[in-house]
């Protein structure tokens, strides 16, 4: 029979993460930064250079949400909260959404939506190229984020495809590094780098643990 104390504990924790309102609440939270940026742009309260502010802040939010998405699995395991996985897809899609906003702001506000100029900019500047590559690589992940796509691809293949998020995180980090390099100002960058290193490092460590556990389980002949 189950330990009543554990069952009670689980029952107390369960409603929060499994509450039917939790997803709509997260959705609303994820829209807040965008709503604020739109409001601030409309009321001209983004300072002297609103275009630059929009480009930078949408980029900041992309990085933050990317970290949040990557944090789900480690947190789920470390906190023993399997229900956390319910939020991963929405965080991932939101990351993509902010990346698109970031790119659109750059393309429209900085480059005047001149396709030729944009293509030249991407080809000429590694800084822009790396950011664009991250967005391009994110696109198939966003497009295969609904249940039917998962089923059609099969769990294994879907998972392998979505592992490209690790490469995307490193590209995003490099993009941000080059953006800050001109000012030799790496305080913010170091924080993001440390968070992403921890989130990816945990995965490497887990994988090693699992493979050595599998080795130990092999029958000794």
């Amino acid at each position: 029979m189950a330990n009543p104390a554990i069952a009670a504990g689980a029952a107390r924790k369960k409603p929060l993460l499994l509450h039917p309102a939790s997803k709509p609440l997260l959705f609303a939270l994820l829209l807040l930064p965008l709503a604020y940026l739109v409001w601030a742009a409309a009321t001209d309260s983004l300072g002297a250079n609103p275009a630059e502010a929009l480009i930078r802040r949408s980029g900041d939010w992309t990085l933050r949400l990317l970290c949040a998405t990557l944090a789900i699995t480690p947190l789920r395991v470390l906190l023993k909260q399997p229900a956390l996985v319910r939020f991963r897809r929405m965080l991932g899609v939101a990351t993509f959404g902010y990346a698109v906003v970031h790119f659109v702001c750059y393309a429209v506000l900085d480059q005047g939506l001149d396709l030729q100029v944009i293509l030249k900019d991407i080809a000429k500047r590694p800084f822009i190229l790396v950011g664009t590559a991250a967005l391009v690589l994110m696109t198939p992940l966003a497009l295969t984020s609904f249940n039917r796509a998962i089923k059609a691809l099969g769990g294994k293949r879907w998972q392998r495809l979505h592992q490209s998020i690790y490469a995307i995180a490193l590209l995003a980090l490099l993009h941000f590094f080059w953006m800050k390099a001109g000012k030799n100002d790496f305080t913010q960058w170091s924080i993001y780098a440390a968070v992403i290193a921890a989130l990816l490092g945990w995965r490497v460590w887990e994988a090693k643990k699992r493979s050595s556990a599998a080795l130990l389980k092999q029958p000794v002949s």
Partner: protein, 268 residues
């Protein structure tokens, strides 16, 4: 701050003046932080009186000027200059001051004075970012002698009819309108006449991005962005098209001959 309109041809740009609010809240002054809003927020604590400026090096009459004395060296003029930042934005500022040459001729440079080095205040007690690794402090800038003597090169004490706000480089700064804004050092404490080309703060930090000359040039891109266009701050709202950047920031007729025969792609 009383002044007379400048009689210098080309010292009065025909452009619309940038809003005072934009010009005083959107600043690069890394001693106070790397965000554009940092200088406005934290420069207020800088003490600008008393203040002295030491003029030294290869000159016959080295001298330390008190700021009040220095301001009376020549009639204060108002000049409307375009200011183009290397980051791709621009403003139009009514500066108050006079040509740097007024000071130069009083200290009498010797034949060995080939360059002028400008050293700016680096006081960690007043400037929260001095000590950070962003730049090698103090901030040093430099001009070739002929550039420093050009009448457009201006020693600035005020703007918009007032004394300079701290975040704009009080109590005195440079304005070199045909060069990217970072060439115009703020809160100057030393002007040195030297034989060798000075190593500027930005050259030490990123020589491949910021050269000694740093003339505004739409044909030579920054490694991370194009310099062909610029955003004029406050012009036309969020969706305004950027302006084409002009050679030497539009001062080519006045300064072009300084660089005759020079490869400006190499000497960026």
């Amino acid at each position: 701050l009383a002044s007379v309109p400048s009689t210098l041809p080309s010292a009065n740009a025909m452009d619309k003046v940038t809003d005072y609010q934009d010009a005083t809240t959107y600043n690069n002054f890394y001693e106070f932080g790397t965000d554009k809003s940092d200088p406005f927020a934290t420069a207020g604590r800088m003490k600008t009186r008393p203040w002295t400026v030491t003029v030294e090096g290869n000159v016959a009459k080295p001298q330390t000027f008190d700021i009040e004395q220095l301001m009376k060296l020549a009639p204060l003029e108002e000049r409307l200059y375009r200011l183009r930042c290397v980051e791709g934005w621009s403003m139009v500022i009514p500066w108050i001051g006079f040509s740097l040459s007024e000071v130069i001729k009083r200290v009498q440079p010797t034949g060995n004075a080939k360059y002028v080095e400008f050293v700016t205040l680096a006081d960690p007690k007043q400037m929260p970012f001095v000590g950070s690794r962003v730049l090698d402090w103090p901030y040093v800038e430099g001009l070739r002698m002929d550039e420093a003597l050009h009448p457009l090169t201006m020693l600035v004490f005020g703007m918009y009819g007032e004394v300079l706000p701290n975040q704009n480089g009080a109590p005195l700064r440079l304005a070199v309108p045909w060069k990217y804004g970072f060439k115009s050092g703020k809160s100057l404490v030393k002007i040195r006449f030297v034989e060798q080309q000075p190593r500027t703060a930005w050259q030490k930090s990123a020589a491949e991005e910021y050269g000694f000359y740093s003339n505004v040039n739409p044909n030579v891109d920054h490694p991370r962005w194009s310099q062909a266009t610029e955003r004029r701050i406050g012009e036309g709202g969020l969706f305004a098209k950027k302006r084409p950047t002009l050679m030497f920031n539009g001062y080519e007729p006045q300064v072009g001959q300084l660089y005759a025969g020079m490869d400006l792609k190499k000497n960026y």
